[in-house]
């Protein structure tokens, strides 16, 4: 093709990159103000920034601007000014000044922070803005009388940072303040722990034998009790609450033995101090609580910007355009009633089941069913919620309310109410159950032995509590929490994001892997396009690309993408005509160019292969030149990942909502055609997982869209594949970046290694416990010994688990 280029310039292609977004200019190059831009959007953002003296933005090394959403249209945010929507979104308002905290998923670098905090330079109505980058949120203070909320949203959209506003924002506000409470608890525990240790120092060295020192000793003990009280009743309260809840539910969780140990140490210490028989073990007590809290904090620290709990509400818009007596207004979708006429624009989600009023619509159900190609619907057809219109705006009459629509019904399935996190099944919990009973037996035996041989109640009681103190299940709990906490951050480092620690354990145990097809193992935005027929001349390629660029049909868009080196022509196509479902044609000078189905270009051939690929025929001046065969492109990592999983002995299945394509290729990958299932509805996918589980399989479901939501929820581990983790993925246990799919077998191996580390660490703490127990059983556990053993054991465990998990991760991830 290059040879036929007639341009006088050298054949070496110069790479033009957009000054604003940094992407190579694919479709066209717009020279403007001595810079080059890839699209009108980028150029507009540049103009806005230049007008406001904010070009410093481009001086940042990592500056890579966003081009504004092409789906934006005038009035998109009008609903934000509705009186019953706005108060639910605002964080604060006193009538004069308001504040809003918006999620901006497109925020990605330091120049984004810089620009978003300069909003007050862009509009006088904004008084200030602060970015929280890990959460990808910007908090904007503004004067509602100078700038309306809708105008603020438009301003952000105009510079490429469209705020993401969904039904979830309006329906439920989760004021997440647990993080602060945890920090208070940790701070207080640490404070008391250090001070109690200092005040206990004289006890460790048997100081204070004179009568004057006696007063000091009383003072120190009293201070210790005062310092320990907030730790015991505030910092440790979570353990007691959780243990009590479990006991009332008639089961033992991991917090029950911890609570028992804490209570016995606390009461023994109080008894010893009040009866002046000893100094108690308050230093060990507060120390254990401090370490336990750190462990839990470490384990529960997750990714602020990634949400694992999205349901349909996160995808649904807040409001929709509704026709009332011929006038278009905006209505919150919760107020949408049967009979309302709504207007759905290009790429907008249909929020409720409806009947089409406009003559014709192309509905893209990829979001719900995984079907890659949009389907045509005609006037009077029922359209289910969750589809997206592609093309011009259409009018529909609402059939059912949003909450009763077909799509939202899926969330009524039992799978969504069942809690997956069963903390009783964790390794630590099961181990703890045996451990606690054995410790109780040893303690009782010690007690009876001393009562029987020495007939001293005091000695027997001291030994009894000493056993409970040394054998506190804290070390065991620390093993699990620190290992899992470190595993989570290691997984994050290798760009595999897990919801919580329980997901690691479940991942380590899976034996079956089920893949979804569209979007999961195929690339959503790319396709393999090959031209079959006589080679096209450069001129013809320009013609085809220009014509295809006029159409909004997905196949046309793919065609445009597959001809990146062809520059769009500025020549005007005349008599442009597009018939949905058939094709498009236009006049190019004297030639008539046609793109579309076989029938559109006037041939009747149909040869077998069309199951595997879509075809776009090209005809120039009535002469058919050939066709573009467009097939979905599989992720290049897929084969490697699947082969490696099969070698590791996992059962593999494919569940696709799409029609059966590429059966031969997929069956060689997956083993046999009996492992491939096509045309699966969302509820059938869920049922399939349930069936596997009934057969005793533990399933990892790999999916991407809402159509997999049920299966992701039902499976032991639901893994969502996303090309941008900050984008939106359905409720799941883990998120993986598409390009890391090849590493899936390694991630599973790593999770298994993590479980082994926990077991080894259990063994280690058992050794330590046996040493401590020998002191305790023989009645020799002095406070100083306890005060040394406790932190030493905790530190050893933390060091061991951190080191071992890092080592294991490096070994597993090595290529």
């Amino acid at each position: 093709m290059k040879e036929s280029t007639l341009a006088p310039e050298p054949v070496v292609q110069e790479i033009h990159t957009c000054y604003h977004c940094g992407e190579p200019c694919r479709d066209e190059i717009l020279p403007h103000d001595s810079h080059e831009f890839c699209c009108e959007g980028c150029k507009l953002v540049y103009d806005v920034l230049k007008e406001n003296d904010l070009c410093q933005y481009y001086a940042f090394d990592d500056a890579k601007g966003n081009s504004p959403e092409s789906t934006y249209y005038q009035g998109k945010f009008d609903y934000l000014d509705l009186p019953d929507v706005q108060p639910k979104l605002l964080e604060f308002t006193d009538g004069r000044q308001s504040r809003i905290n918006w999620l901006v998923p497109k925020m990605h670098c330091s120049s984004c922070i810089w620009l978003l905090e300069k909003l007050d330079h862009l509009h006088p109505g904004v008084s200030g803005s602060v970015v929280n980058f890990p959460e990808k949120k910007v908090r904007v203070s503004f004067y509602p009388d100078k700038i309306k909320l809708s105008e603020l949203a438009e301003l952000l959209t105009k510079i490429g940072y469209e705020p993401y506003i969904s039904l979830n924002d309006v329906e439920g506000k989760a004021g997440n303040k647990w993080n602060r409470t945890r920090l208070y608890k940790m701070g207080i525990a640490g404070f008391s722990f250090a001070n109690i240790m200092m005040l206990s120092l004289p006890e460790y060295f048997h100081l204070g034998q004179t009568s004057e020192d006696q007063n000091l000793r009383v003072l120190f003990s009293a201070l210790n009790v005062v310092l320990a009280l907030p730790v015991f009743f505030y910092s440790a309260s979570d353990f007691f609450v959780s243990a009590w809840k479990a006991l009332r539910g008639r089961y033992l969780n991991i917090d029950a033995p911890i609570s028992l140990a804490l209570w016995s140490v606390f009461l023994t210490s109080l008894y010893q101090i009040l009866s002046e028989t000893g100094p108690g073990y308050l230093d060990s007590l507060t120390g254990s609580i401090f370490f336990l809290l750190i462990g839990r904090y470490f384990q529960d620290r997750t990714y602020a910007s990634i949400s694992f709990d999205r349901d349909y509400k996160s995808y649904f818009p807040v409001a929709v355009a509704v026709l009332k007596e011929g006038v278009e207004t905006r209505l919150p979708i919760t107020d949408l009633r049967p009979g309302d006429h709504m207007i759905v624009r290009n790429r907008e989600l249909i929020p409720a089941d409806a009947v089409l009023v406009s003559p014709q619509a192309m509905i893209d159900y990829s979001f719900v069913s995984g079907e890659a190609e949009p389907v045509e619907r005609r006037k009077g057809d029922t359209i289910y919620a969750g589809g997206r219109q592609s093309g011009t705006a259409v009018e529909m009459e609402v059939l059912r309310r949003v909450s009763q629509s077909y799509l939202t019904q899926l969330w009524n399935n039992d799978a969504f109410t069942r809690k997956k996190e069963d903390e009783n099944q964790t390794l630590a919990a099961r181990f703890n159950r045996y451990f606690s009973s054995i410790v109780l037996v040893i303690a009782t035996l010690t007690f009876t032995y001393w009562m029987y041989t020495e007939e001293s109640f005091a000695l027997a009681f001291t030994s009894f509590t000493a056993v409970l103190i040394v054998a506190c299940p804290c070390a065991l709990t620390l093993s699990a929490t620190f290992t899992n906490g470190n595993m989570l951050s290691l997984f994050g480092k290798y760009r595999f994001y897990l919801k919580n620690a329980f997901a690691i354990e479940r991942l380590a145990k899976i034996d079956t892997v089920v893949f979804d097809k569209t979007g999961t193992i195929t690339l959503a935005s790319e396709a393999e396009v090959t031209f079959e027929g006589e080679p096209l001349s450069a001129d013809e390629q320009v013609m085809i690309k220009t014509l295809a660029a006029q159409s909004s049909h997905p196949l046309s868009r793919l065609l445009v993408q597959c001809l990146p080196e062809v520059t769009l022509s500025r020549r005007v196509l005349s008599d442009f005509e597009e018939i949905e479902g058939a094709g498009t044609r236009a006049l190019w000078g004297r030639y008539q160019v046609q793109l579309g189905s076989a029938r559109w270009v006037g041939i009747d051939t149909f040869d077998g292969d069309s199951h595997n690929a879509s075809r776009v025929y090209v005809s120039v001046d009535g002469l058919v030149r050939g066709f573009f065969s467009i097939r979905s492109k599989y992720r290049p990592e897929l084969a490697q990942s699947v082969v490696s999983l099969r070698e590791d002995g996992y059962n593999l299945y494919l569940l696709s909502g799409d029609k059966p394509t590429d059966q031969s290729y997929l069956s060689t990958l997956f083993g046999s055609t009996s492992r491939l299932f096509f045309r699966q509805h969302p509820d059938e996918k869920l049922a399939f997982i349930q069936k596997m589980q009934k057969d005793g399989k533990r399933v990892l479901m790999v999916g991407d869209g809402l159509n997999d939501a049920g299966a992701l929820r039902q499976s032991e581990v639901g893994l969502a594949v996303s090309d941008d983790v900050n984008n939106f993925s359905p409720a799941c246990d883990a998120i993986i970046e598409g390009e890391r799919l090849a590493d899936l077998p390694r991630y599973i191996r790593m999770a298994r290694a993590g479980q082994r580390v926990i077991k080894l660490s259990f063994a280690l703490s058992l050794v330590y416990n046996i040493i401590g127990l020998t002191f305790a059983v023989t009645g020799n556990l002095t406070p100083v010994l306890a005060a040394i053993l406790m932190p030493v054991s905790s530190i050893i465990i933390v060091l061991f688990t951190t080191g071992a998990t890092n080592l294991a991760a490096r070994k597993c991830m090595k290529k």
Binding site: S110, I113, V131, P134, N179, L216
Partner: protein, 56 residues
């Protein structure tokens, strides 16, 4: 040894001061975002004149 009574009191007060400082810092949100401030501090405060914005 009676000096100890006073010294212990002072040492506890000092420690309590730090605890209060910690609680205050959590309350005003210093721990809510531990990344953005590290980026923000490197931004120049000066507004450059509109011509001087060459790409680095």
């Amino acid at each position: 040894m009676s000096a100890l009574f006073i010294l212990i009191g002072f040492s506890l007060l000092a420690a309590l001061g730090f605890l209060i400082a910690f609680v205050w810092s959590v309350r005003v949100g210093q721990y809510d975002d531990d990344y953005t401030p590290s980026v923000r501090i490197l931004f120049d405060d000066t507004t450059p004149d509109s011509k001087a914005a060459p790409k680095a």
